[in-house]
């Protein structure tokens, strides 16, 4: 009897332990009344959800003060410190604080002059003339010279050693120093979007080869230290050319790989800013700290491999488009805060975005889907394996919802959860898959997400092959103004939707937890964590 009693107690304890666990993590998907303080002017597409129950959490109103340290939690380690060679979005968003180009991104998606004071473009669109800003200093105290600019641009364009580090810069044929404050760049073809590539960091002349070089840039913060798996520390650049910035003395980007740990550290106050919150974390933090929200620079999709049976049949792909209930996905994985999309363009790039959600509707149309499947010769559906990178919880959740939606129209879908590295090699590089759920990260260049769907692109991992698309894309390349390109970009988005190239689902909102005494946090339409404008408010 005693033995049974103790087993009973053990089970009881274990059960309380388990319910305690789910209590602290889950129960979030139904709650879509999040208190979001919208701080960006680009989020017009977002449904503003304000909830009266949490009125005590508002953006701080006190005066900005100087000084202080902020710890920003980041989810993954950085992949390097060389601004020209790093590729991970998570690294570039940090290096934005250390390095600047001739121009730099602004929060509203435009460009502002940084190391350059102004620039002009020749009539034929082939010669850029940059006038350098006077008095811009590197973190080592030296003034930025035309030599440094020439070196940096030659390094990224491949003029230095034959390997272009930024592929769009390949087009540069010469960098000439006209005088000590003027640099002239000659390119071999007209590209109105090339100016966005001049955000490439300006680094001291020769520093790329210097054995003991530390990352030296001109940004609002200078590099202090980097420890693998712990994080990166940056400190205020007192000589920064933008008067009054930055506010903070020191920023630590700290790697926190577990979401649970991040929550604990936010609540304990050891971390002040934590971006890319999961929906469940938002629920947990509401009422305790500011949760800011803005559309992210990523487009999520159920990517379909256009060259495998039966997805090579456009009717089958269209049937899948009708089967998808994007509103349900939005509610389930993003608490209803994401923007439903249908093509490969960020809704925040308003001049180029076209809303095509009506083509297949944002909720499921089972009738149409079944009819198209019958027409395509699959009245009883087919088996479809969706390979999903398992480390991305949001994509896993999305895939789970999609599986059910596809089953409703007779497609027997299943999930194959794979590791990120396997995804990169099997799905992305070798294109050996049927379907996958993932997200593409946008860039400040408006056409960045569209160029990969040309039939010859090495990034075209869905094997999309449309002569129409290639033709319109050729017009994009030939177009010499952004207005003209915008027209073609809209056409490209339409072709992707009509051909049902892939099941674009959501532009998921980026939700950031920010300590209650911090102000000035800004969202960018690109992947950036700008710490220069962040400040502690006066008490």
């Amino acid at each position: 009897m005693k033995k049974y009693l103790s087993i009973f107690f053990v089970t009881l304890l274990a059960m309380t332990a388990l319910t305690g666990c789910t209590g602290s993590t889950g129960e979030s998907s139904e709650d879509n009344t999040s208190t979001t303080v919208s701080t960006t002017d680009t989020d017009t597409t977002q449904t503003g959800t304000t909830d009266d129950t949490n009125v005590d959490v508002v953006a701080p109103t006190g005066e900005p003060t100087y000084g202080g340290t902020v710890v920003v939690g980041i989810q993954q380690d950085i992949d390097g410190l060389d601004p020209h060679t790093v590729t991970a979005a998570g690294t570039r968003e940090i290096l934005f604080n250390i390095f600047e180009g001739l121009v730099k991104n602004t929060a509203n998606g435009d460009l502002m002059c940084a190391v350059a004071e102004d620039y002009s473009l020749s009539e034929d669109g082939l010669v850029y003339t940059f006038n350098l800003r006077q008095g811009v200093k590197f973190h080592n105290g030296n003034l930025v010279t035309a030599e440094d600019v020439k070196y940096s641009l030659e390094r990224v364009s491949g003029l230095l050693d034959g390997t272009p580090l930024i592929s769009t810069m390949k087009t540069i044929t010469a960098v000439d120093i006209l005088d000590e404050k003027t640099v002239q760049v000659t390119v071999d073809s007209v590209n109105p979007e090339l100016i966005y590539s001049f955000t490439a960091a300006i680094i001291p002349n020769g520093s790329g080869e210097d054995e003991n070089a530390n990352p030296i840039g001109t940004g609002p913060f200078s590099f202090v230290s980097y420890t693998p798996q712990e994080g990166i520390v940056i400190a205020k650049n007192a000589d920064y050319w933008q008067a009054g910035l930055p506010y903070l003395d020191k920023v630590e980007f700290k790697i926190i790989t577990s979401g649970e740990t991040a929550l604990l550290e936010l609540q304990a106050g050891t971390v002040q800013v934590y971006p890319y919150l999961a929906d469940s974390q938002v629920t947990e933090l509401e009422g305790k700290m500011q949760v800011l929200s803005a559309p992210s620079a990523t487009v999520q999709a159920l990517f379909l491999n256009n060259s495998v049976e039966p997805l090579n049949n456009v009717k089958v792909r269209q049937a899948i488009m009708y089967a998808l209930d994007k509103d349900e996905i939005n509610l389930f994985v993003a608490g209803g805060d994401a923007t439903v999309i249908s093509s490969a363009m960020l809704p925040s790039l308003e001049s180029y975005y076209v809303d095509l959600n009506d083509t297949y509707g944002t909720s499921a149309n089972v009738e149409m889907a079944k009819q198209l499947l019958t027409e395509a010769g699959y009245p009883d559906g087919f088996d479809l394996v969706i390979s999903v990178p398992s480390s991305y919880e949001v994509h896993m959740q999305t895939a789970e919802v999609i599986v059910e939606q596809l089953k409703a129209v007779g497609i027997n879908a299943s999930i194959d959860a794979i590791e990120w590295s396997s995804w990169l090699s099997d799905v992305y590089t070798d294109r050996n898959y049927a379907a996958t759920v993932c997200a593409l990260t946008g860039d400040s260049t408006p056409g960045y997400l569209l160029n990969r769907f040309t039939s010859t692109s090495s990034k075209n991992f869905i094997n999309f092959d449309s002569a129409d698309y290639d033709e319109v894309y050729a017009k994009v390349v030939a177009a010499t103004s952004m207005e003209e390109r915008g027209i073609y970009y809209k056409e490209l988005q339409k072709i992707l939707v009509e051909e049902a190239a892939t099941g674009f689902t959501l532009c998921i909102a980026n939700k950031v937890a920010v300590a209650n005494d911090l102000g000035g946090y800004q969202f960018y339409p690109v992947y950036v964590q700008d710490m220069a404008t962040v400040y502690y408010v006066s008490k």
Binding site: K2, L5, S6, F9, V10, L13, A14, A17, G20, C21, S24, D77, D79, G80, L81, D82, T87, A88, T163, S167, G208, E209, E211, N212, A213, N214, P215, T227, P228, Q229, E230, K254, I255, I256, T257, S258, E260, T261, L264, E265, Q267, A268, G269, T270, V271, S391, I418, E419, W420, S421, S422, W423, L424, S425, D426, Y428, T429, T441, S458, K459
Partner: protein
């Protein structure tokens, strides 16, 4: 002497086999470091250039032999993934050398806590005639073993960090900057690691003590008039500790190899986390050395246990 030579030969052969197996595993599993580094921005030219730069364009056997030669010379190579600054990759030696003290101190603290708590607890438990205490300890130790490490870590953080405010979760300080603060922070993850180990060790000790108490020599001692405590501490415990030593050896080998889950929960930059992230980014030079380190530790700890056995029990020595 022959015994030692035998042991060392086993060690070398095992390390060799393990290194080959790890290398083979890296050839078989999908995904490679080039994909992992370049991500979705990769172009074929970039991939090729990086592959050549890392020497991955050479045939596998040649790569393994080159790597082995370097390791024998004491050169562990550089990480594919972690850079030291803008132009240099992080040497594996430096990378692991930085993390090792964290894991070793954590191991020392958690094993220390385990031994200090579990051994008196086990003896007390074996000796108790109180039915309630017996039942209570039974449930307590069962529970401590049943809770998943991840959840236990969070519980400890909540209790000591957020409720009692004895430490600030996430405010880990490096042993290089503030050793006292470092140890102070480590005590809490060490408790999280130690709790299930205490449960197991105490149960183990209790059971082996109870078995020993039934032996003939106990009856003999009793009939000679030795007191109960005398029997327990002078005779029984010495015998009962033997299996516990093996068990503690296993625990040490486990924690010295890095407590992956607890390191994650407490944001500790230790060996366990490094291993996980290096595997997922296919950072072969780091993974290979970490695996060799873990193998080495396990073999050495077992060897030490073996020697201890001989000291504790003369019967084994004579065999």
């Amino acid at each position: 002497m022959k015994y030692f030579i035998q042991k060392i030969a086993t060690l070398i052969i095992t390390l060799l086999l393990v290194s080959i197996l790890a290398f083979l595993a890296f050839q078989i599993i999908p995904g490679d470091v080039v994909n992992s580094i370049l991500g979705t921005e990769a172009t074929p030219e970039m991939e090729e250039a990086l592959r050549a730069e890392l020497g991955l364009d050479k045939p596998p056997v040649q790569r393994y032999l080159a790597w082995g030669k370097d390791v024998l010379r004491g050169d562990f190579g550089v990480s594919y993934r972690y850079s030291k600054n803008m132009n240099e990759m992080m040497p594996v030696k430096e990378l692991i050398g930085d993390k090792l003290p964290v894991t070793l101190w954590l191991a020392l603290l958690s094993v220390g806590i385990t031994v200090i708590v579990a051994i008196p607890l086990g003896v007390l438990w074996a000796g108790t005639k109180n039915k309630f205490l017996d039942g209570f300890l039974n449930v307590l130790t069962q529970t401590s073993m049943a809770i998943p490490a991840f959840f236990l870590g969070i519980l400890v953080t909540y209790l000591f960090g957020i409720a009692l405010k004895m430490f600030a979760p996430g405010a880990y300080v490096s042993y290089k900057t503030d050793f006292g603060g470092f140890i102070h922070y480590l005590i809490f993850p060490a408790i999280a690691i130690a709790i299930p180990k205490i449960g197991m060790t105490a149960r183990f000790l209790r059971n082996s003590t109870l078995t020993e108490l039934k032996s003939d020599y106990v009856r003999t001692a009793k009939s000679k008039g030795v007191s109960d405590t005398g029997i327990l501490f002078k005779h029984v415990l010495r015998n009962a500790m033997l299996p516990v030593v093996t068990f503690l050896g296993m625990i040490i080998a486990e924690v010295v190899a890095g407590s992956i889950v607890v390191e994650q929960v407490f944001s500790l930059p230790g060996i366990g986390r490094l291993l996980i992230s290096s595997i997922s980014t296919r950072d072969f030079p780091v993974v290979e050395i970490l695996i060799l380190y873990i193998t080495f530790v396990v073999i050495v700890v077992y060897f030490v246990v073996d020697v201890l056995y001989r000291i504790l029990d003369p019967r084994i020595r004579q065999k």
